[in-house]
């Protein structure tokens, strides 16, 4: 983990209100696992007060570049979207425990299930899984056709099933509808809104990993803003809860209460 001013080298709107930002700086080299996130200081003064957590979507270790994809949601992401190429931005990260890639064996089948802005962290995961020789099937859930992003990029890494709630593109319905149609896979990885995660956990036929979101204070495990309950107390520490920012955001499915 580092705190560093990184330079924006690209910023584009890839779908309505969805931005792709690329940041350059040595901090990029610190990335350990897909699914880790950074905590972004979107302003310089006292307002906004808190940093904004955004998942790392891709990394270019050689060129020291991190890519993130985010939705312009409220005040902070709006400020972020107004920054220009060449601007510097203060980044704290990489933070948290990401998706375990080593659990996927060569030639095993991994299903990646993402909803909306839960999709981005799955992209670097997919790349890493493909690199280890696993087969990747990706299910991408959107509300409607125009919201779609990253489809092409995932296409290059394996089979992609797009679902839209209104059926305007791909399969009509939810990611779980697509998941039900898959017969055999060895592990799944998922990130998205909580109701989706709950549905995926129930539907899935294999062990899996779930990435959670929560409102954060510190982002480093010190303030206890972002806890979730463990299904059973941690054997080592005896604690009945986990901190999403430092113990997560990725947990083994079933490990935490959604």
């Amino acid at each position: 983990m580092k705190m560093e001013n990184m330079t924006i080298t690209a910023q584009t709107e890839v779908a309505p209100k969805i931005y792709r930002i690329v940041l350059n700086g040595p901090l990029a080299r610190e990335l350990r696992d897909p699914g880790q996130f950074v905590n972004i200081r979107v302003g310089t003064g006292i307002d906004p007060t808190l940093r904004r957590p955004i998942s790392i979507c891709d990394v270019d270790l050689e060129n020291e570049e991190l890519t993130m994809i985010y939705r312009q949601e409220g005040k902070g992401t709006k400020l972020l979207s107004e920054k220009l190429v060449g601007d510097e931005i203060n980044i704290l990260g990489p933070l948290g425990q990401g998706f375990p890639v080593e659990v996927a064996k060569k030639n095993s089948t991994c299903v990646l299930i993402g909803g909306g802005v839960g999709i981005p962290p799955l992209y670097y995961l997919a790349k890493k899984l493909v690199a280890t020789g696993a087969n990747v099937i990706t299910i991408l859930g959107f509300r409607t056709e125009k919201d779609i992003f990253l489809e092409e990029e995932f296409n290059e890494l394996g089979q992609v099933i797009v679902t839209t709630e209104d059926g305007s593109k791909g399969m009509k319905g939810y990611v779980t509808d697509a998941l039900k149609s898959l017969t055999s896979y060895d592990v799944y990885y998922t990130c998205g809104p909580k109701p989706m995660l709950r549905a995926v956990e129930i539907t899935a036929q294999s062990p899996g990993y779930i990435s959670l979101e929560e409102r954060m204070g510190c982002g480093v495990g010190a303030c206890l803003a972002c806890v979730c309950d463990l299904t059973k107390p941690n054997e080592e520490t005896g604690k009945g809860y986990a901190k999403i920012c430092s113990d997560g955001p990725v947990f083994l499915a079933g490990e935490v209460i959604l």
């Binding site: 983990m1 705190m3 200081r41 006292i46 307002d47 906004p48 007060t49 808190l50 940093r51 704290l92 929560e214 409102r215 954060m216 204070g217 510190c218 982002g219 480093v220 495990g221 010190a222 303030c223 206890l224 803003a225 972002c226 806890v227 979730c228 309950d229 520490t237 005896g238 604690k239 009945g240 809860y241 430092s246």
Partner: protein, 307 residues
């Protein structure tokens, strides 16, 4: 003694800066980022007799120039703190302040008794002001005689100096300060958070699951300065000042208002290196302002004091 060293009961501090309780856990997270020996002292998260799971999430909400929190005193409980957290801090030679909380007087006494025996604990901070749990002390913090009674009881069992952390959510903080001073408090910590709320316009409901939370950050600084100023003129015990410290000037402003040391809370979330950074900037800023020794400016705003 160095220009920026300060001495308070139980706390021989190489500089006046400590992290504020609840914003620094038990030090391990920030200890990965810098050497905690650089700090003037360390104030750890509230400890209760039993483990506390705290409030449901969301527990934080942003506000203009500040934030609300409703953590709800989550902590692993006295035993765990004694066995795991405090021993981890032994490797540092920075004074440790332990913030303690409870449902009733006996709870506070039990925690104070056990915690104060620990060799690396230098002071106790009595949290009578947590706004986020009904039984978390706020009732102790809003009534002078209850606060005094608690202080007196805890003093009978504590082997280290006791600082009482005051709530700003009161009509007359001076009255409470005087009452706990008379009851034997060795110092005061002020201020805890102001009660606040934010509403999510999409749902029409409060953002925090606990509905209300405690307001901290830059926004509350003028309230903290005013209360410290008022209280410092009416009590003789030292004050650890806090509430919206972000910049080096804020440290000096708190000390001029009457604080003998300061604590930094919310600012750690913006910049995890804020404490050592401010400590590093202190002497240069003192030079610019012609301040010789930090201890000489304490209470300067009240003319008569310490000049």
């Amino acid at each position: 003694m160095s220009r920026i060293a300060v001495n308070l009961p139980g706390l021989t501090m190489k500089n006046p800066v400590m992290p504020a309780s609840g914003c620094f856990a038990f030090g391990q997270e920030y200890g990965k980022l810098y050497d905690l020996n650089r700090l003037g002292a360390i104030c750890v998260k509230a400890v209760t007799v039993e483990e506390r799971r705290g409030n449901p999430t969301p527990r934080v909400a942003e506000t203009p120039g500040g934030m609300l929190n409703a953590i709800g005193l989550q902590n692993p409980g006295l035993e765990h703190v004694l066995e795991h957290e405090l021993p981890w801090l032994e490797k540092y030679d920075t004074p440790i302040v332990v913030n303690i909380a409870g449902y009733q007087v006996e709870d506070y006494m039990e925690v104070a008794k056990e915690i104060s025996k620990v060799s690396n604990v230098n002071a106790i901070e009595l949290n009578i002001s947590c706004p986020n749990v009904k039984e978390g002390g706020i009732t102790f913090g809003t009534d002078a005689s209850t606060a005094a009674h608690l202080t007196e009881k805890v003093k009978t069992v504590s082997e280290v100096p006791v600082y009482v952390k005051l709530s700003p959510n009161v009509t007359d903080i001076v009255e409470i300060a005087k009452a706990v001073e008379q009851a034997g408090a060795d110092g005061l910590s002020m201020i805890n958070t102001l009660l606040g709320m934010r509403i999510d316009l999409k749902t029409g409901q409060p953002i925090l699951a606990n509905r209300t939370g405690g307001l901290s950050g830059a926004a509350i600084k003028p309230v903290a300065i005013r209360m410290i100023h008022d209280v410092s003129q009416q009590v003789d015990i030292p004050i650890i000042g806090m509430g919206g410290i972000y910049e080096v000037d804020d440290i000096l402003e708190f000390m001029m208002a009457g604080a003998s040391a300061v604590a930094v809370g919310t600012a750690n979330f913006i910049d995890p290196f804020v404490c050592p950074t401010l400590i590093d900037q202190l002497e240069e800023r003192m030079d610019e302002l012609g301040i010789d020794k930090l201890s000489s400016i304490v209470g300067r705003s009240s003319l008569c004091n310490n000049l």
